[in-house]
């Protein structure tokens, strides 16, 4: 569950990225977050993942009040979240397999278990045959799918994606979104920031629209409430 109450985020320098945002996503829900660049989409996702802390207001994620979560508990909190970036944040000095394995290594799984789970995740995104490849040798869409495999390999309760289809062609974008729908179907709370309105309006999921740091509109379904 993700809950925002009158959240304000002001960056040093005075620029207000989010003002008075309230929203609620139930466990297992899925929603899209849209708006112009600079509307606050990334900031909202970063607040959920505790990459940023709110200036004012309450945020509750996975039953934890983020305002009072001490720094040392942040790593454990983040293990419940999978994050996908537009530029995928892959490490180029290691193979696809090792990239995807990273969250499991951090969690302390043994090698055979890591191998099993990594292959399952890679299989899900259709890249099982590329496990030994270096990320640079992959296409943009493939790199994005490796990023997705890494985000879901430890089975987080929440999946966040920031413009996951930002530089993909429409067909690849649709494939990626289909993947997110599948993860949501098995119960992962999924929030995706995207400005690709044309694509996301066809997917029958609530759309949260940010404008100048304010939540201005939701639709078409009322699953996520402002």
């Amino acid at each position: 569950m993700i809950q925002f109450q009158n959240v304000v985020k002001r960056y040093p320098g005075g620029q207000e990225a989010l003002s008075q945002v309230s929203l609620r996503m139930d466990e297992g829900a899925m929603a899209f977050l849209t708006g112009h660049s600079g509307a606050g989409k990334s900031t909202l996702l970063k607040l959920i993942a505790l990459i940023e802390r709110p200036t004012r207001g309450q945020i509750k994620v996975n039953g934890q009040h983020l305002n009072t979560l001490p720094r040392r508990k942040v790593p454990h909190f983040r293990r419940g979240i999978g994050i996908i970036f537009q530029d995928h944040h892959l490490l180029h000095d290691r193979s696809v397999f090792d990239n995807v394995a990273l969250p499991l290594v951090i969690l302390g799984y043994r090698r055979p278990e890591i191998a099993r789970r990594v292959r399952a995740a890679l299989d899900k995104v259709g890249l099982l045959h590329k496990e030994k490849a270096q990320p640079v040798t992959l296409s943009s869409g493939e790199q994005q799918r490796v990023g997705i495999a890494r985000a879901v390999v430890h089975k987080p309760a929440i999946l966040l994606a920031d413009e996951p289809t930002g530089n993909l062609d429409p067909e690849l974008s649709r494939e990626i979104m289909e993947l997110f729908l599948q993860f949501n179907q098995v119960g992962v709370t999924t929030l995706i920031a995207s400005h690709d309105l044309e694509l996301i309006t066809t997917l029958d999921k609530p759309i949260l629209k940010l404008h100048g740091g304010k939540l201005v509109q939701t639709g078409p379904r009322d699953e996520a409430q402002p």
Partner: protein, 333 residues
């Protein structure tokens, strides 16, 4: 995408199990903690070997910085040992007057021997003295040019242990000089004292150099690890993003410092060993000239272990400083 997950209704039955990270069981995690350490050790070792030139350069600097004070300290220890022999055997040379015959000399020795402060009094006739001088000085042929023996008869006096101190020995010398037939009682202590003072000063100097060079090692390791951290900024960000604790991220860097210190210490030990080998021959020759079978002592097992331990401590310390200083600053953006 062959294994697409089922519909939402199968959620409960899905093998995904508990949400929220899916942590393994507690005992597995404890085991994994050990595995994690082993992995970090091997990983940091591998990182060192992937950049052999840079690593060799850093290790050489560390090794020299460790070998220099170790070598000096070892030299000092050897000098002390060598001078220790002389110190312990504080002796007095009691020179007899020219009129004293060999028989008188033996009586004189007996009288000296009877003194409370004297442990041993050994008479040395003029012929004995000449023979010893011939054997030890290397000027034997020069003596042949003289038509008479220039050396006086003497009694070599060793004080008892309680009278070995400089003041007591000096008092004894006065007592001996008052005896009939004694020309002079000579104490050969002053140069030993000077040497001791010199050694003490050198010890301080070596200590100072050791501290400075140790600080140097700390900084070299710290800086190496700092660069390593900055080079891996991206990796650290990603690891933090997927829930790595500070400990997990810190570990490979700390082990990196440990390896630098350990291998630097090993290399320093090799440098010291080679230095000893090179010096031992000439030193033995020199000692032989002084009629001694003195040979250079190595650092020994405990000394070697100490040097390695020092290397490890400095390596860990240096990396700890760098890690504490820089890791916290790197946060995902």
């Amino acid at each position: 995408m062959s294994r697409a997950p089922g519909p939402a209704s199968r959620r409960k039955a899905s093998p995904r199990g508990a949400r929220g990270g899916g942590q393994p069981a507690i005992h597995t995690r404890f085991q994994a903690w050990g595995v994690n350490h082993a992995q970090a050790m091997v990983f940091s070792l591998g990182r060192l070997s992937r950049n052999p030139f840079g690593a060799a350069l850093t290790l050489t600097v560390i090794a020299i910085a460790l070998a220099l004070p170790s070598g000096l300290w070892l030299a000092l220890k050897n000098l002390q040992e060598a001078s220790g022999h002389w110190d312990r055997g504080a002796q007095l040379s009691v020179f007899a007057q020219d009129s004293v015959t060999d028989q008188d000399l033996v009586q004189l020795a007996t009288r000296i021997q009877a003194l409370e402060a004297v442990q041993n009094a050994q008479p040395l006739t003029r012929e004995d003295a000449l023979a010893e001088f011939r054997a030890l000085s290397g000027f034997g042929e020069a003596l042949d040019l003289l038509d008479h023996n220039p050396l006086p008869a003497l009694v070599l006096v060793t004080p008892v242990a309680a009278h070995q101190g400089p003041d007591a020995v000096r008092a004894l010398a006065g007592q001996l000089e008052a005896l009939d037939g004694v020309a002079q009682a000579q104490v050969d202590l002053q140069w030993v004292q000077r040497l001791q003072a010199l050694l003490e000063m050198t010890r301080r100097g070596v200590g100072l150099v050791a501290v400075l060079l140790g600080l140097g090692v700390l900084l070299v390791v710290g800086n190496t690890i700092r660069l390593d951290i900055l080079n891996r900024r991206r990796e650290i960000e990603v690891a933090k993003l997927v829930g790595a604790t500070d400990g997990f991220i810190r570990r490979p860097f700390l082990y990196g410092g440990l390896w630098l210190g350990l291998f630097g210490g090993l290399l320093a030990l090799i440098i010291v060993g080679v230095g000893l080998l090179l010096l031992n021959g000439p030193v033995q020759q020199l000692a032989a000239l002084y009629g001694s079978d003195f040979r250079l002592r190595g650092p020994g097992f405990s000394g070697a272990l100490g040097l390695l331990g020092l290397g490890v401590a400095l390596g860990l310390g240096g990396s700890w400083i760098a890690v504490g200083r820089h890791l916290r600053d790197i946060e995902p953006r």
